[in-house]
Symmetry: C2
DNA sequence: TTGCCAAATGTTATCGATATCATTTACAAC
DNA sequence: GTTGTAAATGATATCGATAACATTTGGCAA
């Protein structure tokens, strides 16, 4: 029994030193062999790789990151994973990140910018390769820290001409106005709105502002705005609609929802109350979510390019990380999808 | 201008050394002050903390992790974020992890165990505080590596008496059999099944096996098993059901779905084909998803305790990480939720 | 005043890799 | 056999923190 004086790795996993020892070379040769960089003969490289494989050596990413002053982590902050919007955006980004060798650290902010601020600080202490934030509404502190950090940042989902760094999104105000225009064109005059607490979802608030603008321009106005829900589930849409229809004096001719899920809940509430859509009441959603593909009575909605957004965003961020020059601000178009829950109003 | 010979941090962010210099103390004093450990006077601690705050110093987690041979990262691997099941489980875990100071690195496997295997290797190289895997079906290599790694591991969603380490889940086979028993009790004899490709979702396959067992015991049998879908969306349920009802000779008296979303798609398909549910055909889902709360005709389903599972799992994993002894394997009950899409069959 | 002990503070080694620079080797040209 | 040069290989400093041990300081008893 040879008495090995080498002390073992504290974590129990093989280190570069263990490989070097077995292969009778310096740790630098192992490092070069593993990374596939030049500076080592083909024969030795293969021998080292074989030994590394045989003892199950994988470089410690923590040490690599410390030496490089930068990790292969990408922080992703989304307000929620429910409702599929951010899940889809994230899903569209995944492939590119994985291919490029990045791992994503997720954070859910629940729409709190205080939470986001704390997360940014925690993330920066990981020296991430990049950061992704949802929307463009961040605290001043968050903006400053990110700017100072020199870390590539992508803002996604919303659009601004002056992003922190990169931005791929849609114009929520415009998109709201666009739908408003379509609805006033059909003759709707007295809309109601169902969404979440004001200030919680800044994008949704902007869409409502856009809708409102269009209606006011056409001589109409919101008869009621119902923003008491805490989430955007089917059930919240159902409950808010029931409440709205039971309590409001000025009956709306159309209800605009924060998204399709709430709209579907609203549609169910109408049925339950014996109202016929679109004859008695129009229903309008947002996003073009999955459920709309199977409904006999498809909901009129705006289709947001979520996959496209994720793909473009991820590619741009990766390009930026790798040092390329990329377009800083990209605005994607949103299409109206005319369903069977709205119709021409007789005047 | 004082000529500072101190070289600046390569990443541009202040280091512990910068604080030490400004405060005229050693880096160890700063370290102690920041961590709130004893070994430093109250006066100095406050002074150091003030300086740290003023120059925006936050400890580099990469360096901390290297020194500790362990990070505060917890790797979470889920097959998908769509369909809300894993999103809910994850959401239920979040709070505990955040409170305990852990960050989660997410991975989506798309139900591929090869993918999972590669991910485990990558994650281990981050020296995570813990790992969470979905289900109990992993490659032998994955199991071995995890066992050897000494990292606390939680398997969630499925249950096994012999987990890699910790496990909190439900019995999918039993749960399928339980629903099967309920259905045969109503008099159903000729079920069909709609799910995804065999082998893709091992848990769903086990539920089907359970269902089948119950029907066989009662003298019935599946007349058709439709597993050509690639995902569990509303649309896949719709399309598969349409196909099934149009092509199968032996008409089923009930269709069991992989989950409620597919079931809802199926329900829509029935409506479209002019079939009345539950009179012409029963519909059964799984999970007790959100949509079921707003349907006038609620789908008969099994309610899985997703939040409970996430909470329990997270707490146990954290306890284990902190060195406590915890129950290794926990099996949670699943309740049948009787809706309006199934009814007693006249014999 | 001296000596002792505990608290406060500092010094050095370490975590596991990579960058940088130094040294050795191999081989061609003379 | 020299010599020169490029490729192969190695030694050491470094990334930014913490652990372990060493030293200083302050207060109190003798």
């Amino acid at each position: 029994m040879s008495d090995k004086t080498e002390k073992a790795s504290s974590s129990g996993r093989p280190r570069i030193e263990d490989v070097a020892e077995k292969a009778n070379v310096s740790i630098m040769s192992v490092s070069r062999a593993m990374r596939g960089v030049e500076g080592i003969s083909q024969a030795k490289r293969e021998e080292i790789l074989k030994i590394a494989r045989s003892i199950g050596y994988y470089p410690n990413r923590v040490a690599v990151s410390l030496a490089a002053s930068s990790s292969n982590l990408i922080g992703v902050s989304v307000p929620t994973l429910f409702g599929t919007v951010f899940a889809e955006i994230y899903d569209a980004m995944r492939g590119s990140f994985e291919k490029a060798g990045f791992a994503t650290v997720i954070d859910i902010t629940d729409y709190s910018s205080t939470h986001e601020e704390a997360w940014v600080e925690r993330m920066i202490s990981w020296r991430p390769a990049g950061l992704i934030l949802s929307g463009v509404d961040h605290s001043e502190t968050t903006r400053e820290r990110l700017l100072k950090s020199n870390i590539p940042v992508l803002e996604i989902w919303d659009h601004t001409p002056n992003p922190i760094d990169l931005c791929v999104g849609i114009e929520h105000l415009t998109t709201g106005a666009q739908m408003g225009k379509y609805l006033t064109g059909l003759g709707y005059k007295s809309p109601a709105y169902v969404g979440v607490r004001q200030g919680k979802d800044a994008r949704a608030d902007r869409r409502l502002a856009g809708l409102s603008k269009s209606f006011v321009n056409a001589g109409g106005a919101f008869v009621h705005i119902e923003r008491s829900s805490n989430d955007t589930s089917f059930e919240s849409g159902f409950l808010a609609t029931t409440k709205l229809l039971n309590s409001v004096n000025d009956k709306p001719d159309v209800i605009c929802y924060l998204n399709d899920n709430m709209a579907f809940g609203g549609l169910m509430a109408c049925e339950r109350l014996g109202l016929s859509c679109p004859n008695d009441l129009g229903i309008v959603g947002y996003n073009g979510l999955n459920i709309n593909k199977v409904l006999q009575k498809r909901i009129t909605t705006s289709i947001t390019p979520r996959r496209k957004m994720g793909e473009t965003g991820a590619q741009n961020l990766i390009a930026k990380i790798l040092g390329a020059r990329v377009k800083h601000s990209i605005s994607l178009p949103v299409d109206i999808d005319i369903g069977q829950t709205t119709c021409v109003q007789s005047s």
